[in-house]
Symmetry: C2
Subunit: 226 residues, 2 copies
Amino acid sequence: MLFLIENEGMGSLTEENYIKSVYALSQATGEVIVSELAKKLHVKPPTVNSMMKKLALKKWVLYAPYKGIKVTEKGKKEALSIIRRHRLAELFLVNVMKLGWEEVHDIAEQLEHVESSRFYDRIDEMLGYPKFDPHGEPIPDANGKILNDKRIPLNQAKENATVKIVAVADDKKSFLDHLNDKGLKIGEKVFVKRKEAYDGSVVLVNKSKVELMITHQVAERILVEE
Amino acid sequence: MLFLIENEGMGSLTEENYIKSVYALSQATGEVIVSELAKKLHVKPPTVNSMMKKLALKKWVLYAPYKGIKVTEKGKKEALSIIRRHRLAELFLVNVMKLGWEEVHDIAEQLEHVESSRFYDRIDEMLGYPKFDPHGEPIPDANGKILNDKRIPLNQAKENATVKIVAVADDKKSFLDHLNDKGLKIGEKVFVKRKEAYDGSVVLVNKSKVELMITHQVAERILVEE
DNA sequence: TTAATTTGTTAGATATATCTAACATTTTAA
DNA sequence: TTAAAATGTTAGATATATCTAACAAATTAA
C-alpha cells in the first residue's frame, strides 16, 4: 500500500524534483535563476515562482523577489539524499542489472523517489558502498557526506596546469559524443594551455600532444582535479 | 527526467492503484462495491464514485449508478500489467536483493509504478521468467497471460474433496499468522469435510488428520486447486 | 411492508501543481 | 541614460484527487 502521508521533513515527489534541480543548477555559481529552473523542469516561470515560495517556507531555499535562488543547508541535505538515491540506482541498474548506461537515467529518475531506506541500504551494500558513479560523480553517503569535493569546472582551472578529468556535469548523449570526438575521457589528463578572456573558450593539449579548443559552454561541464 | 506525459492508454499512478484494487476485489464474485473499494484504498465513498466514473469513461470498468463495479477486458489488461510488475518486484526484492518477505510489499507497491518495460524485462530475465510468486500467486507474462487459472476460493470447493492450498488472497501478517495457527500452509492438501450453509464456515481435515473449522471470511481468502 | 440502516450519489469545498495574461522589475544595448 | 529586451511576479483559471454535508436508493429487520 502506498501511503505517502507527508511527514514534516518530507517532500512531495514534485518538491523533490525541484530541490534536486535547484541544487544541481546552483552548484556552479551558488545560485540559480527562475528561468533556468523553468527550462530544466519544463514548466513555466510562474510555476517555479510559486514552488520557490513553498520551498522557502519549508526553509529549503532562500528566495527574495527578483533575486536568485539559494539552497539552504536543510535543502542541501534533501537534495543530497535524492542525488544519493539517483546515483545508487544508476550504478545498480548498470552493475547489477546489466542495463546500458545510456538507458538507466530515466529509470533512476523514477527509482530515486522510492521511499525506503532498506531498499537503498541494500543497493549500497550490494554495490560495496561505492564512492563515485560511472560518470565520476561522487555518491553522498547515508548522512549526505560527499567524499572529495575539490573538483572544479575546467573553465576555472589555472592556465599552464595539468588537470585530470574526473567527471562531466551533463550526461546527454550529444554532449558525451562531443567529448568523444575531442578525444576527452574521464580519468585522462589534459594540459590547460590557454583560456581566452574574450569568449571563455579553453585551449587544451591532450595526452597525444594534440592541441584542441573547447568552448566555455563545454568547459564548464567538465569537472577536473589538481 | 521524469516526464510522465500520459499517453492515451496509460493511467495515472492513482488510476493504476484503483484498477488494481477493482480487479483484485472483484476476483471472487465478478464485481466489487464502492464501500469495499473505499475501505481498501483508505478513501471515502464519494472519491471512489468519481474515480469510477473516470475509469468508466476510459472503458476500464463497467459502472452504473447503485450497481456493482465490473472490470472490462481493457481494465483487466491494465490490472494484470500492474500485478505483473508488483509480483516481479516482490520476487526480485526477495530473491535477488535478499530482503525479507515481510518487508518487500510496500517497496513493491512503489516499484510497480515504474514506467519502463526494460526494467521489468530484465527483472523477469534475472528471475528466470517465474510463473508464481512466493505466495503461490501466478505472475502474468508480458502479454497479461496467466498460467493456470483453475484456482478457486476454498469456500467454493466441493464437500468431501481433497484440495491443495495454492495461494492466499491476503498477505496481511495477521491473516498469515492465523493460517499458521491453524496449521495451514501453501502447498499442503486438506480434505473439505463440510461447508455450513448457515454461516459459510468450512470444516477441514488437515494432513495430520486434525479436524478444524475456518470461517467463511478466511475460507474465501484461501485459494485451492483440484 | 414499512421503517431503519446501510450504501451510494451529488454538490460544493480544499490542496497541489500547473497554465495564460497582464503587469513589474532588472538588465542590456542603442 | 533611456528605451528595448529579458526576466520575474501576480492574479486568476484549470485539472486531479481528495474531502464533508446533504440527499437518494437499496437492503435489512421489525
